[in-house]
Symmetry: C2
Subunit: 352 residues, 2 copies
DNA sequence: CATCGCAACTGTATCGTTACAGATTTGAAG
DNA sequence: CTTCAAATCTGTAACGATACAGTTGCGATG
């Protein structure tokens, strides 16, 4: 066979299978390499040729074989969302996944969900991804001030973004909710309602946003002259029953607070239950501000003042940031903080 | 070079990279083919050789390159979860994803989330997966009696499982919640509470479980001698505001029901709001049974009687079923129905 | 009319794996 | 001492894509 045309498929590729570069090469009479480079808009391919190739590719619905690309180039076109199985409790995964996929829909990226179970295993999925080259970028949450995952990913140069910030002197992409301001504004609001003895249902101390929320809470106490009621033994990672029971005890004590800042929506539910078990009533004995990821609380307990953390938007921001990181944008430009705002109450009139 | 050893790597594969069959071949002095077959436990490889290969493979942490396998064999080791972006509202995705990944964790499968937006596009992601060979198996939900996705997947022979049943004479794997029985038991319970004028907040009519739930409801009405109050213009896919407003009108009318069966947890929230806007009270003017995917309602409105649909378990069942289908198990053995049960009320005493 | 540079295109090798068709060795049967 | 079969191992080609190092043709330059 003439070596000049060895790269040109002589037989029409078997029909029924999906089109490959070979198919296009056969149809256009070009070499496979040329077709490949034409589709990449390489500078050494003629303008008219590119046009022809693009047209044929579109006509037959050519889509590059992911395995081929991945094997040759190492590019996986995968973004990995790393989740704790326990994260489910907060019901946060749904809108997050939706937000991420909204952004990925316009790209060649697929979203792979990579779970891990115990907290001590948090590094395991990261190692897996690094070792097997399973993804081009990673999204992690439940960020800690000194997060070994961030250290490892940075060291190995795999693009990532965190949901939450770190404090380790590494500049990396992140998206976060401004929990400092949330707690600060919550205190302001409660004081405006005449509340002075405030309690905070806080995040677990090892997560970064613990200190943010505490800082905002304490700054609020100082600025608006209120007092803290201690509730440190309990945090939003505890079970609803634990939170409820601990809070009932507190509400029955001498030390009972008259204002509550809840760092989580489900925590708020447990606090309300504890409060009611102690025969106290919202708005009468106590006011409450809660961060919420959904509308449930507002509908069922409109007397709770809520600040909405839009997880879907967070998912979008995170997705944009990883992709930006993959594309080489500087990390400083891939950081965002979403500002809390109080939600208007649900309108209880007809045709709202 | 001696052709006898052409397949044996002569140079130690560059360190730092991840191990491949070549690495093991070099270390054991065997051919690449032999190593491949040894790891697959092929019958034509000696027992001792297999042992040696396995040992080395384990020692160096060999994991087959997914792109290589996929390119050569077409096996993707991917399960695709096909979701509506709108599904988020029900907050059902989180526990579903968790359940699925729990099962996949023990397998080589990864979970890829493939979304679609409009209802009319429901076929688009399926076509994409079929055309690009993106997955070995598919999980779909929001099943319809005559579901074109099921038809297409069956025709093209791609293993799948549905969350919900179909009525098209095709035997395929599914997992479903017994909505017929749910509604039936709900009616029984309401009648036992002295309620006789019952309303059903039903699923949208095009989904299969609409007729299941209606059938159970109507069978209950007959068996327990209660009457239906019409509320057909509204269903669980409508917005909370729409449901609330429509229900307020109903509750203010002559025709007001005294018992409610709610086909969804978030729908129940809207119904409660509508009821309260009509100045009616739960347990006094009206009782309610709702299907719920989480604990929120039980905590905040313990007076609602609930049947828990465990989505996490559903995720597990679905994952097991697709894998079973991929492995060639007969579809009849991959069908399961989860039975509803009333939940005990939240215990409102200390140390529950 | 060589020679050179440039534009446009192409072949080969390779990524890691597996299907397939041998190849070699060993021991037993004839 | 052949012959054969079984047991064990191996090389080659291919999956689809791309990096790299050419090759070809052609007009401009000296």
């Amino acid at each position: 066979m003439d070596s000049k045309t060895k790269n040109r498929p002589q037989t029409p590729p078997p029909d029924g299978g999906r089109p490959t570069l070979k198919t296009i090469a056969f149809m256009t009479g070009l070499g496979i390499t040329t077709v490949s480079r034409a589709l990449k808009d390489a500078p050494d391919i003629g303008a008219e040729t590119k046009e022809r190739v693009r047209l044929v590719a579109k006509q037959i619905g050519y889509q590059p074989n992911r395995a081929g690309v991945r094997l040759r180039t190492g590019k996986t076109n995968v973004i990995s969302l790393v989740l704790t199985l326990e994260e489910e409790i907060m019901g946060i995964t749904s809108p997050m996944v939706v937000g991420i996929t909204e952004i990925l829909a316009g790209t060649p990226y697929h979203l792979v969900v990579t779970p891990y179970s115990a907290v001590k295993d948090a590094l395991a999925p990261i190692r897996y991804i690094l070792d097997t080259g399973a993804a081009d970028g990673v999204i992690i949450s439940r960020t800690e001030p000194h997060d070994p995952r961030v250290a490892l990913l940075t060291e190995r140069g795999l693009p990532f973004v965190t949901h939450g910030r770190t404090e380790m002197g590494i500049v990396h992409p992140y998206h976060d909710f401004d929990n400092e301001r949330f707690a600060y504004e919550a205190v302001r609001k409660l004081v405006a309602h005449g509340r002075r003895r405030l309690v905070l249902l806080e995040p677990p101390p090892h997560l970064t946003f613990y200190s943010h929320m505490r800082a905002g809470f304490e700054r609020g106490l100082r600025d608006f002259q209120a007092d803290a009621v201690s509730f440190h033994q309990t945090n939003i990672d505890h079970s609803l029953v634990e939170i409820r029971d601990a809070f009932e005890v507190l509400m029955r004590s001498e030390d009972a607070p008259d204002g509550i800042v809840s760092g989580s929506g489900s925590g708020a539910i447990a606090l309300i239950a504890g409060l009611e078990m102690a025969k106290k009533k919202l708005t009468e004995d106590c006011d409450m501000v809660s961060k919420v990821p959904s509308d449930f609380l507002r509908w069922l307990r409109p007397e709770v003042m809520t600040m909405y953390e839009d997880i879907r938007v967070a998912g979008r921001e995170l997705a944009k940031a990883v992709i930006g990181h993959i594309d080489g944008a500087p990390a400083e430009t891939l950081q965002s903080l979403s500002q809390p705002e109080f939600q208007p109450p649900i309108i209880r009139g007809l045709r709202a």
